[in-house]
Symmetry: D2
Subunit: 383 residues, 4 copies
């Protein structure tokens, strides 16, 4: 389906090389309204790809005074770079590790524009929708979503390897800091190494993958559905829907499977405000599929881009083996530009889950207390 979300819902259309891409955003909360300007959206679009994804039609900017109304918002970004198809060779070859072959298998039609819907252009609609969701989350809950590049090839951000320094990084990192270096890695020495690694890939007409880590701060506890729609399951779904992703982990992730329960368990402590927090946060802010109020953090693996500027031995559509010629210059590493896309999908998941929990809580809060409730079921008082 081209729609994501249960209550806060984003529907996108558009692919590479077509006239425009866009989205419809449904169920944006509104009361006396939330001021939303094109600029709120443009900031993230520009972080995705500067100068190439200008929002031309924020639906109702003028007549509605830049105020959201709770009704769906239409978004459109025109494609300036809508060149006619001129690569005759790719008419013969499905590009290795691209979606050319699988799309043909799915739709029975060769989309001449390459990967079609799996194109990175489609993500423009998501980034715009995420920026809208984020405006609400920030205004109401002070929720902060910050993603950054945590590895390029084998070069990893050192902080990730040590829980205490990781916790500190996650607690304080800001987008401004992330953007200080073009690789969007917030550790300058590592960022430089990453740049070298990317240049090396470029010089070799090759490409290299990496990981993005993201933290979401100030999310209320209680979000997520206990069984199939656990918070981390929805989040994983959202992240694995971003092109080129191959892996997702939350909290301690794969590494945590090696840590014994006695060390991995997050003991509770009383926070200054009287609520419960946890001493450690191996869980990554979710327990049993539901947020516990601690920082939510997760990591996503992006494979090396399939488009490379060197010859490849491979088969044509008809089975003939041959050599797919080297092509023009391409981006040898996409993780820096994936940062705002990760943030966007995170914002969409959080707002969708917030709306669901709002429904539960509001409906439950109207029930009168039960006198006969057994003591074991009573919610304990805070100290």
């Amino acid at each position: 389906m081209s729609t994501f979300g249960k209550l806060f819902r984003v529907t996108t259309y558009g692919e590479s090389h077509c006239a425009s891409v866009g989205a419809i955003v449904d169920w944006m909360p509104s009361s006396t309204g939330l001021e939303l300007t094109a600029q709120d959206i443009q900031v993230q679009l520009s972080r995705r790809r500067p100068g190439q994804s200008d929002l031309t039609t924020p639906r109702n900017e003028k007549d509605l005074h830049g105020v959201t109304l709770g009704t769906p918002i239409g978004l459109l970004v025109k494609n300036e770079d809508q060149r006619p198809h001129d690569y005759t060779e790719t008419d013969l070859y499905p590009r290795p590790s691209h979606a050319d072959y699988t799309y043909l298998e799915k739709y029975g039609v060769k989309a001449s524009s390459g990967g079609g819907r799996s194109s990175a252009r489609e993500t423009i609609g998501r980034v715009a929708a995420g920026a809208i969701a984020e405006k609400y989350l920030k205004t109401v809950y002070g929720i902060e979503i910050v993603a950054f590049v945590s590895s390029v090839g084998k070069i990893h951000l050192p902080a990730l390897l040590a829980p205490p320094s990781l916790a500190k990084l996650l607690a304080t990192i800001s987008r401004e800091e992330v953007d200080k270096h073009p690789t969007r890695c917030p550790h300058q020495t590592t960022a430089e190494k990453m740049t070298q690694r990317i240049i090396r890939a470029k010089d070799a007409s090759d490409s290299i993958g990496g990981t993005v880590t993201c933290v979401i701060r100030n999310v209320p506890s209680g979000l997520g559905e206990p069984v199939f729609d656990k918070f981390e399951a929805e989040l994983g779904h959202a992240m694995l829907s971003i092109p080129a992703t191959k892996a997702f982990e939350i909290g301690s992730g794969f590494r945590g499977t090696e840590v014994p329960g006695s060390k991995h368990n997050d003991a509770f402590v009383r926070r200054p405000d009287g609520s419960l927090g946890t001493k450690t946060n191996w869980s990554g802010g979710v327990q049993g599929g539901i947020t516990n109020g601690e920082d939510i953090y997760f990591r996503i693996g992006f494979k090396s881009p399939a488009t490379i500027s060197q010859q490849q031995e491979t088969a044509q559509y008809d089975g003939t083996s041959g050599t797919l010629a080297a092509r023009g210059r391409h981006d040898p590493c996409v993780v820096p530009r994936a940062v705002p896309i990760v943030e966007a999908m995170a914002a969409i998941v959080v707002l969708d889950q917030l709306l669901q929990q709002d429904a539960r809580k509001a409906a439950a809060s109207r029930l009168p207390p039960i006198k006969t409730l057994p003591p074991t079921m009573v919610m304990p008082k805070k100290l």
Copy 2:
């Protein structure tokens, strides 16, 4: 929501300590019917937990001659072990890294039975539903789904580390082989080490996590939706909805992010039957969110069980810090029993996606060919 799937849909109810758990399975395909017996389901229930999850009501076994009708199937497993709640201490303490606290935050009610819906008992309904889906997949496509334990703590199955031996393992592994050792690791030496590791955890009143790897063979190409519901996104969603999971990766996963594109790209080759296959399979059977006919394989990380038999320093619900006493014996490692749950969720995802692609293909196949179609869009003939 308590429902998973778009067309093939599974809805479950039930939690720990309640009278029964069950599921409703909707949209099971049928024509002149598919013979389905209670035994088909019981096999996997018993692999999940021998002797404790007997299917008592396969809805229509007698009157409908064991034949599925395309209408929903109700499933019920009674809880024999429905003991009254007797742990007064857990009335005071939210257990660390359990769902006690987050459920209270979500529902405003303390479920005396502990983790409530996030209990492992809920997975009975999934395993039963998965067995039903699998019967169709095996009968019609010869699809084989085999999961196994690939690590316990720091003890990893060696094959995972070397692509060629991994490919061979994935191509041949069977459930019989997996079940030869109680740890469900198909490499006897490693399995023994895992057993020792689990015993060590047990002796220390501690617990240990691990990973499960799963392969799905013979899945047709073309499954998966290009944008939000990519095959791997649905698969990741399904796996991350299993209790205690923290990580998911498909194909080369996190490790693949370190491999340059020139090596990571899966070049095409002509298969003996004339169709296209790939030389390598770093992609794990999906490209652009859509299956390509190669083996689908993925790995899931399960954290160390939160229930341990040793004292823990932690806070009570009201914030008072204290010591949660050691409790009775518990399973120090759950990954061996997670194997059939992983297989079940995989079967549900594949059947749901198959039905969606069946709709697309059947509808498209009725369209007459277009004469004016430009050559670049025509599906190439096989050699």
Copy 3:
């Protein structure tokens, strides 16, 4: 699909002649819980068909102290009357205006038990789910849902023809009053005529249809989604999913199409509590798809039962024309028993829409007021 609802969701299974029918009810609101007993549900099951639909498994009655927890509720009613199939003739004939033929066309399997899922037995799950929803609606909002028989054949409840007497009836009618006469028509003289009409049908081995009218009182304003999921569209969907229904109208319905706008418009008046109400209620409590706080009322047409005890000239499955013999006694008029089913579906729709609006309102209420809001958009103060 076998699921109804977006947030409050009911999934049913089961059909005629199978071992049991049941439902899973998801998203029942709970806080410190809502006391729910088997008796709450049994009352409506017994109104549906006395003595034949005893709830045997209210999931968690004992261990959970009869308190809802917000988690899904499993419901099961065993079929006492699970006779083997013994009508050889219906193996040859699709019964006219039954679902025998269309089910065969849909599923490719002849369900030996006749109408299969379209059987009235399936409605047991709905009635149980509706009773659960109603418990919340009544407890929290004092919402009252009362359906009654408004016509049998050509015998119509006179009040329906005159707006003022209709309004009065709708404002005061109770279930007790409805149940005073077995036809469930709240006007004794008309009820007697209806009885005579039903007896006449029975004596002629024939059947007769009728209409059910339903009122929902005390529904808050603001429920319903503006475009595709208008309140009346969801309500119509729910009602037209009840077996044997052919028509639905809300408020003035078909008759209202003949009334000029100047008379049909519901002018606003100030209610004693300062809120706005309407002088007339031709709209039936909804405007633009959204409830306005006035009584919601609607009417549903049920066709004459297709099962009749007389011979019918018709064709066999293979096309041979012949005579389908008279069969045993059947219910010549089903509308009295449809009353609790209509109430159940109404309750499900209202609770589902309430939860959706709760999400919207709760999320919107947290937004800070906007200072620059143009005056035309400001919500006016009440006098």
Copy 4:
């Protein structure tokens, strides 16, 4: 939600007085593609409102050669008539039987542009989406969808009252015939009377309602889901989501409730091609929620437009009673323009149900026959 459909899905945005309205159409079937031109869509847009709803952005007309690809289609119609809001009086008064009041109750914001999303402008997106669906239905199945005005006020098309003449009308009516008279009533004498009735309403600064009847020919049997998503329930949902609708009936509808079963039952007959048809068609093409291959016909009631050009005594938002002044000229009767909207929603429902049944049938057709199937379950051979 702003999305309709399960597989073939339409999402709309936009309301009155905003910059544009549009839709995203998902899951349009495609193989070697279906030729789709802007003209295919424009025809119905122009029937909806000539000259005011020109499609400006059929997404990918040029680069994709007017061929659908199976991927989502974005549609946009700019609003030429985007006047600033200048009605100060409606800032004080909620217009009677409009959505002004209920929208304020729902969203907490006064949409200055009046009815907001319930505006007729929103239906542009639906009409465009329906035209796309219809192209497939016509190309592949020869499905014909024809709606016409069957009453204006108390003036009814005579054919509706007599089953035989109705059957004949439904079997032959075409859009060309419907469009011969501006009222879109296919009976010239009646059409003239309707015109007079509309003129009378106009002269009285009043408005008048009416009904639209629609037939869908050549729909395959087997469409519709047996329980909650019966074909007629989905159809009713779709129709009751059109602005100003208050009533829906299929087949014999309300009138059929007065006809005894012995007469109302549709006996089967062998069709010339060997398949089964029915002698009569009181059912309106559906039995048990599933299509039987006969003509599907239904009728929808539209209330008299709420906007009238005369003074109305009513209350202001703040409760003050007063007189809402007469406003400018408005359309005194909307049913003629509702005709293409009804056809569009019908097409959307049919294609969505076709795709679902395609999934069921394709999946079931791959199952091998069961040898042990009891004779009563075997599908009978055609003669």
